[in-house]
């Protein structure tokens, strides 16, 4: 497309074709000893159900290890581990620690390497903190790192307010930086080259034009679409890039995080609410064109609708990403379950095909989010044109 040398074209085509395959490069042993804890959980559960002490079979241990592997890929983490090797006893982790920022009466800032991948108790200004293996949160403990639990098994230690830069936040910052550099470069290239784009950003020019001509203008209208263009563009590329990063072997799962999709949905809701014209609220509370009793019934339903629409935005993005990741990870774990020359390649092939589908879903979910946001904005700034037609007819 934009490259002219044949070998380079071939290399890029090969990279794009093998992109889904590299998502299989994740380790089977995670970095916070969740596997060991999960096997202990499985052992205690089997004790309850069978009522007698019995040894864990190899199958149960492997099953628990798989669940922990899948869960670890979906959860956030306080350090950035790329992969681990070296077995369960003394694993070697390749990655880097991230800063942990806690507010617990005073500000505590330290590197997450003090936690030693969830095994050690970190000490900071006299307080001791430890990561709980079951939910990955930081709790305040005593010097030995004991967790007090209530009857149901929930931890009752005090929790400091956690402002740390976790893996997800770090990836959001990286993607933000990428977006900024990419599109600032594209914008500057217009100035230099007389309104023709040059550079890597010119792959995105048709996409930007598509968002303007086919998403923004049809839904919001010629008069008001410019106000919302920056938000729509940001949302589209942000979600698209985050979804794609989730498919790489880095093991990050950012949009599959309810908090992140919730904040995107909340921002959409705030923009809709605060830029809405009077007609918008008029349509919600006093829907024109229906008999009066219906108007009273429709008002609470419409009001609920304003909340449910951003809520569905959040759930849609979150569920699509999490479901995709779970299925992919389960298929890859299935490879190790079968351990046979027929079953394992088949599940690998299935995982490969599913990864291709996930790439499509990444783009599609970004497009759907942007389009629905544009739809809601359009509804908010819709011009009032109902009564004029009736007025004209009465005149004539």
């Amino acid at each position: 497309m934009v490259f002219s040398k044949k070998p380079l074209q071939f290399i890029i085509a090969a990279l794009v074709a093998f992109f889904p395959l590299i998502s299989t490069a994740n380790p089977t042993v995670d970095s916070t000893n969740v596997a060991v804890e999960a096997t202990h959980e499985a052992a205690s559960k089997s004790h309850e159900t069978h009522g007698e002490a019995e040894n864990l079979t190899e199958e149960q241990k492997a099953d628990a290890e798989r669940k922990a592997y899948i869960k670890h890929h979906l959860m956030d983490s306080h350090d950035f581990t790329l992969f681990t090797y070296g077995g369960e006893e003394h694993p070697t982790h390749v990655g880097f620690p991230l800063p942990v920022i806690l507010w617990d009466g005073g500000l505590h800032v330290f590197s997450s390497s003090k936690f030693e991948h969830g095994e050690a108790v970190a000490e900071s200004n006299g307080n001791y903190y430890k990561i709980n293996h079951h939910d990955g949160l930081i709790y305040k403990t005593d010097a030995e790192g004991n967790f007090t639990e209530d009857e149901k098994g929930h931890v009752t230690n005090a929790k400091p307010i956690d402002f740390s830069i976790t893996k997800n936040i770090f990836m959001i910052l990286v993607v933000g930086l990428i977006l900024f550099l990419l599109f600032a470069g594209l914008g500057k290239s217009y100035k230099k080259n007389g309104s023709i784009a040059k550079g890597a950003g010119r792959f995105f020019e048709p996409i930007i034009l598509y968002i303007r001509d086919d998403i923004a203008i049809p839904n919001i209208g010629e008069k008001h679409y410019k106000k919302y263009m920056s938000f729509l563009l940001t949302i589209f590329f942000f979600i698209w890039f985050l979804n794609m990063f989730g498919l790489t072997p880095l093991g990050v799962n950012i949009t599959g995080n309810l908090a992140i999709t919730a904040s995107l949905a909340v921002i959409t809701y705030l923009i809709t609410t605060f830029t809405a014209k009077k007609d918008y609220w008029g349509h919600i509370f006093w829907m024109p064109g229906v008999p009066v009793p219906m108007k009273f019934i429709l008002a609470p339903i419409e009001l609920l609708g304003t909340i449910i629409k951003p809520f569905s935005l959040m759930i849609r993005l979150y569920a699509n990403m999490v479901a995709g990741h779970i299925v992919l990870m389960s298929l890859i774990a299935l490879m190790y379950t079968f351990n046979s020359p027929i079953g394992s390649p088949l599940s690998f092939f299935l995982a490969f095909v599913l990864s291709l589908l996930e790439i499509l879903v990444a783009l599609l979910q970004a497009y759907i989010f942007t389009m629905l946001a544009a739809l809601y904005f359009g509804a908010a700034v819709e011009e009032h044109h109902h009564d004029h037609a009736e007025g004209h007819e009465a005149h004539h």
Binding site: S312, I315, R316, A319, N320, A323, Q365, Y367, I368
Partner: protein, 64 residues
């Protein structure tokens, strides 16, 4: 997982499958009638499919 949950999840998937299948079928009929409108029809089909899938996922999460 209890039986009612399993039945509920199955019903949700059936509903989503039927809905998206009908949309796909109508889209193919429309494309057959007017091949030059393929782009617009494909876009509309994907949008409707994603919306139905959204409900499907939300219901699956509510079941679990």
């Amino acid at each position: 997982m209890e039986i009612p949950k399993i039945i509920g999840a199955g019903l949700v998937v059936i509903g989503a499958g039927i809905g998206i299948g009908k949309i796909g079928g109508s889209a193919m009929d429309a494309i057959a009638r007017q091949p030059e409108a393929t782009g617009k029809i494909q876009t509309a089909m994907l949008i409707a499919a994603a919306l139905i899938e959204g409900i499907g996922f939300a219901a699956l999460f509510a079941v679990n």
